[in-house]
């Protein structure tokens, strides 16, 4: 459990970080909170020669609401997310999801940027970001671009991020003031990845669902945005038939790998249960 030797860089600005990445190419990896990369390095499954620590770059920190968009610096920790009253009021699902990530010690180190950029299907925030229709602000040598969370994940650990690019911020459209939300996660113990988890955002008017977004964690090689399942809910009063239809549509997209958490059949089945729970809780909150 000792990593191979590497050089450690701690740039003070994004351009400086990009320059280091440019210089060393694929031999360099950026590290945010380090809670995914460092264990991989200790197992020598990752052996970067250069580690570029982003923690001393001030512009990658902070939470601000910019008109209709919330901008969260990529190096904002989960603990800082949890500590922001403004963010919790505007997007309570972030608070609910962050509380279900690992344990307090990890949340003091783990960052939102690292969580969304790593491409680990077990990470919780990617599905939440897809549910919120968030975008990732990405900066590289040739400038900056924005990538939709729903288009970012290609397969396990493979994302739309190009070599030499850094996720600098997460941009979230401010949800309607009155909305329902829920992040429901089945896990074996504190600190574990989800056996199955579902994120739901919803608005309701006159008892009927007006908008709905559903996304799933750890039920396939990438987070799963369930457009068809979401559509099955819209217009309904969240009756059993609608929930069953949504769970069925989402189930067709699930492709979990069998592991210590259970078989494909079990994980797919509880994926449906998590969707049902999240829909019902979101509906209650939207109508409360």
């Amino acid at each position: 459990m000792i990593p191979a030797s590497f050089d450690y860089h701690r740039p003070k600005s994004t351009p400086e970080a990009l320059a280091i990445l440019g210089q060393y190419g694929d031999d360099a990896r950026v590290v945010a909170g380090g809670h995914s990369l460092i264990p991989m390095m200790k197992l020598r499954m990752a052996q970067p020669s250069h580690l570029v620590d982003l923690r001393s770059i001030p512009e990658l920190k902070g939470i601000r609401i910019d008109g209709t968009t919330i901008v969260i610096g990529a190096m904002t920790t989960q603990a800082e997310l949890l500590g922001s009253a403004q963010l919790t009021a505007a997007v309570p699902i972030l608070h609910e999801a962050a509380l279900q990530i690992a344990d307090p010690q990890v949340r003091y180190m783990g960052t939102l940027g690292g969580n969304v950029a790593n491409g680990d299907p077990g990470n919780d925030m990617p599905a939440v970001m897809q549910c919120l229709d968030a975008s990732y602000r990405v900066t590289g040598k040739t400038g900056s671009r924005s990538i939709k969370a729903r288009a970012f994940y290609k397969s396990a650990y493979v994302t739309a991020l190009n070599s030499g690019e850094i996720v600098t911020a997460i941009e979230i459209p401010v949800p309607p003031g009155k909305h329902g939300y829920s992040y429901d996660k089945l896990k074996r113990k504190i600190g574990d990845y989800a056996t199955a988890a579902a994120a739901v955002m919803m608005t309701v008017s006159g008892g009927k669902v007006q908008t709905c977004a559903i996304a799933l964690t750890n039920l396939g090689p990438t987070p799963i945005y369930c457009a068809q399942a979401s559509a099955a809910i819209v217009g309904s009063g969240l009756d059993t038939a609608a929930i069953t239809a949504a769970a069925g549509a989402a189930g067709a997209l699930m492709a979990p790998s069998p592991d210590g958490r259970g078989t494909v059949q079990f994980r797919t089945s509880v994926g449906g249960v998590m969707i049902g729970r999240a829909l019902q809780r979101a509906y209650q909150r939207a109508t409360a």
């Binding site: 191979a4 030797s5 600190g191 056996t195 592991d259 259970g262 079990f266 089945s269 509880v270």
Partner: protein, 807 residues
């Protein structure tokens, strides 16, 4: 009150903090401040580090090992392989179970994670780089990880070193992957009981492979002094004297020139009884380099290579009358020992004390047979927080009792009450050869049932089941009943030894002139709190406050010879030696008191902290005064000084018991469970420190919860270990751990000097069946008789699914 007021008897008694007192743990002063001294805290001048190259394969021929690149890594000084070890006749080492084990791969590897080469370097980083640079060429061989397939005619031959040897350490071998067959009991009478039984059950009850996973992994620091020809080994040893003797026997270094020192240990649970390849490698590396060499396992190495527990596959049969009286018990066990038989049992007991499987019941006839087999899995089979194979036995009979109750349509608690050994039957001779020293099972069970409100719970359960059938709830309620009897305190030399070392234990007490002293004991605490409780025994026995006594263990140069701490043997064996040594001190003090008070010894009586003349309580001498006199004014003809040594060979084992109840709710759609209530009544005889007992019970129950509800070391067909890290191997946090309610009765051991029986392992022994019975109780009214552990979300969901609960 002024200074002149003589202390009351209560005050004098309280000052001692003797037996029965909730004395705070003295060791916690350093542990809670991070000031413990563990092996990895130790640094010796010029110290080197060793790290192991391990096999990625479950079964493979080692074609070649090329160390040349590793030797070029900066800081790497040496690489040991089996070839180098063979030069000092240490390529293989004896195991505690009478088998031999490769120290480093000798021609082939037999399990994933097996030790292949040992890299020695100036620091642990260089050593790890060296490990990466060692090039090993393997040729994969067919793998056998399933004990049910290991004795098939075409099963691959795992142990080529045993080719043609059809007799092992425990008798004949039936197959090339067979280790031993062990049988106990009257087969003919048992078969007759089954042939004439009104009712019988038969069930395969598996206890999955798990791991003790102590907080601190296995580690050692070996230092060979070439000038003096002396070897010092600091290590995480539960039995330091045994390690010294074994080291002397296999190294030919005389025993007085080997110093084995176990400093503070961060938990053992059986993981630190045996000797591991890393120890041998560190010792050889120190001899080769002339420098101290430290070896420290990481977490994954600990989980994958040093000492698993359980992996017992028990076919349990019970014969009974229609009225529920048991007439016979028959059990066959398929015991998976992994690649080498490295069980840490007393040598004559290849399946430990599994013949305690008759449990708490008056079973007239029984027969058991155990087949030990080799597989391509890590060696071990240690007593993980239990006496030898007692958790397996308790699980087997307690699951079997529930299955029988189900078949009879009888309440499981009622079935147990009907079959308990009665108080007046003790000492009770079991059908499988044990003499149970004492017990009062009915009292304990009735107290427990009243405390938990058993009848009301069953009524509630019945209503919930009806509601479930009507579709009004998706939760099931399970009530787990367990009544266990342990057998601990190994053990009487007439039937217990480890490699010929009789399993006595020892204590040496030296009281200093001013009335304080040091107590040295042959046991070795790994967190049990011996520094606290041993002083309490002495305090009560000789009237010197526990705070004035230092307890020391673990240094083989200063501690008297003892067999160490495991199998709940410390209190039954070492605890008895402590009391007996203290009584020698007291006897000498009595002679001195008689001289000083000018009376006959028989005219004196003991009074809390000194002797007084019978009928003349004002004529007295405190122990403090008597100790001063022992050094400075001993009676004429008496040697000065105040020391005593006792070696205690117990006449029998002790038999702690308990009644545990678990109430659990399970969501059939996700398999999630909630332990609503867990009640544990323990009877460990005389209670030395109730607070430490409570802590022991909490810890053991937490481990039992972990085992029953999630732990599993699972191998795939290619011999890859899954779950070899804490991501997958279930170690519950405070969040998952249920609330525990503890209770007790007291039935002292009649043969133990202070009546104590040991408690540390009871909660693991009794806890696992209580949890498992709760899960089984929740589901089996809808069909089925037995659900295998672990009862995690997935398996609970499967249980619901297979019973048609998902529509």
């Amino acid at each position: 009150m002024n200074d002149q007021t003589p202390p009351t008897r209560e005050m004098r008694e309280a000052k001692l903090e003797g037996m029965g007192c909730k004395r705070k743990r003295v060791e916690d002063v350093r542990f809670t401040q991070g000031k413990g001294n563990y092996v990895d805290d130790m640094k010796l001048p010029g110290m080197l580090f060793g790290d192991l190259v391990r096999s990625p394969y479950g079964h493979a021929r080692v074609k070649s090992i090329d160390t040349s690149k590793a030797m070029k890594v900066p800081g790497v000084l040496a690489v040991l392989t089996a070839k180098e070890l063979a030069g000092v006749n240490l390529a293989w080492m004896p195991t505690l179970a009478g088998d031999v084990q490769m120290v480093l791969a000798d021609g082939k590897v037999l399990f994933q994670g097996q030790e292949v080469a040992f890299v020695v370097a100036t620091d642990r980083y260089a050593a790890a780089d060296g490990v990466e640079a060692v090039e090993v060429e393997y040729e994969e061989l067919p793998v056998c990880v399933d004990p049910f397939k290991s004795m098939l005619p075409n099963a691959p031959e795992l142990r080529e070193d045993l080719k043609g040897k059809m007799t092992g350490a425990h008798g004949p071998r039936k197959h090339h992957n067979h280790i031993f067959e062990w049988t106990v009991g009257d087969k003919t009478a048992t078969d007759t009981a089954f042939n004439t039984a009104e009712v019988s059950i038969k069930e395969l009850i598996s206890y999955q492979r798990v791991h003790p996973s102590p907080l601190e992994t296995c580690q050692c620091l070996a230092s060979f002094d070439k000038v003096r020809g002396e070897l010092t080994v600091y290590g995480t040893f539960q039995a330091p004297h045994v390690i010294r003797t074994v080291a002397s026997l296999i190294s030919t270094i005389p025993e007085h020139k080997i110093h084995v020192i176990a400093p503070d240990i961060g938990g053992g649970f059986g993981n630190k009884v045996g000797a591991y390849p890393g120890y041998i490698c560190a010792i050889v590396a120190s001899i080769v380099t002339g420098k101290p060499v430290k070896w420290v396992e990481d977490r994954m190495e600990n989980l994958s290579s040093t000492s698993f527990a359980r992996d017992y596959h028990m076919t349990c049969e019970i014969a009974a009358t229609k009225a529920g009286k048991i007439t016979g018990l028959r059990v066959h066990v398929l015991a998976d020992h992994g690649a080498f038989d490295a069980c840490a049992d007393p040598s004559k007991w290849p399946a430990g004390f599994f013949n305690i499987v008759t449990g708490s019941y008056d079973i007239p006839t029984a027969h058991i047979s155990v087949d030990g087999v080799y597989t391509n899995k890590a060696p071990g089979g240690v007593a993980y927080r239990c006496s030898f194979r007692v958790t397996e036995a308790a699980y087997c009979i307690e699951r079997g009792m529930d299955i029988l109750a189900q078949k009879l349509g009888m309440d499981p608690a009622e079935l147990r009450l009907k079959n308990f050994i009665k108080r007046e039957q003790f000492p009770y001779h079991s059908a499988l050869g044990w003499e149970y020293d004492s017990g009062d099972y009915h009292t304990a069970m009735n107290k427990a049932m009243d405390a938990i409100g058993y009848k009301q719970l069953r009524a509630e359960q019945l209503a919930k089941r009806e509601a479930f059938k009507r579709g009004e709830t998706r939760d099931l309620m399970g009530i787990g009943v367990c009544f266990f009897t342990e057998i601990v305190g190994a053990g009487p030399s007439k039937n217990c030894d480890i490699l010929g070392l009789a399993m006595f234990d020892s204590c040496e007490i030296r009281i200093h002139p001013t009335g304080s002293g040091i107590v040295r004991v042959g046991s070795k605490s790994q967190g049990q709190g011996h520094e606290t409780t041993w002083a309490q025994i002495v305090a009560t026995e000789i009237g010197i406050p526990a705070d004035n006594l230092t307890v020391e263990e673990g240094n083989t140069d200063t501690a008297p010879y003892g067999l160490g701490t495991y199998g709940s043997r410390s209190t039954p064996v070492a605890g008895a030696a402590i009391a007996m040594a203290a009584r020698k001190i007291k006897a000498k003090a009595q002679m001195i008191a008689a001289h000083m008070l000018e009376v006959h010894e028989g005219d004196l009586e003991w009074d809390i902290d000194g002797f007084r003349v019978k009928g003349l309580p004002e004529k007295s001498k405190s122990m403090k005064e008597l100790v001063w006199a022992a050094y400075n004014k001993p009676p004429p003809g008496m040697e000065p000084g105040m020391e005593a040594v006792s070696y205690y060979d117990p006449p029998n084992m002790t038999y702690p018991f308990g009644a545990y109840f678990c109430v659990m709710d399970i969501d059939v759609d996700t398999g999630e469970y909630k332990v609503r209530k867990f009640y544990a009544l323990d009877d460990c005889g005389t209670r030395i420190n109730p607070m430490i007992i409570e802590g022991q019970v909490h810890g053991g129950l937490t481990e039992a919860f972990a085992i029953a509800m999630g732990q599993e070391l699972k191998y795939d067909d290619r011999g890859n270990l899954h779950g070899g890290s804490f991501m997958d191997f279930f170690l519950p946090t405070a969040v998952e751990t249920p609330h525990w309610t503890t209770d007790h009765t007291v039935t002292p051991s009649p043969h133990h000097p202070i009546g104590a029986k040991g408690v540390g392992e009871s909660p693991n022994v009794g806890g696992v069946p209580a949890f498992s019975n709760a899960v089984n109780d929740a589901f089996n009214f809808m069909g089925g008789t037995h659900i295998q552990m672990p009862h995690d979300h997935w398996r609970n969901w499967e249980a619901a699914h297979s019973r048609g609960m998902h529509g």
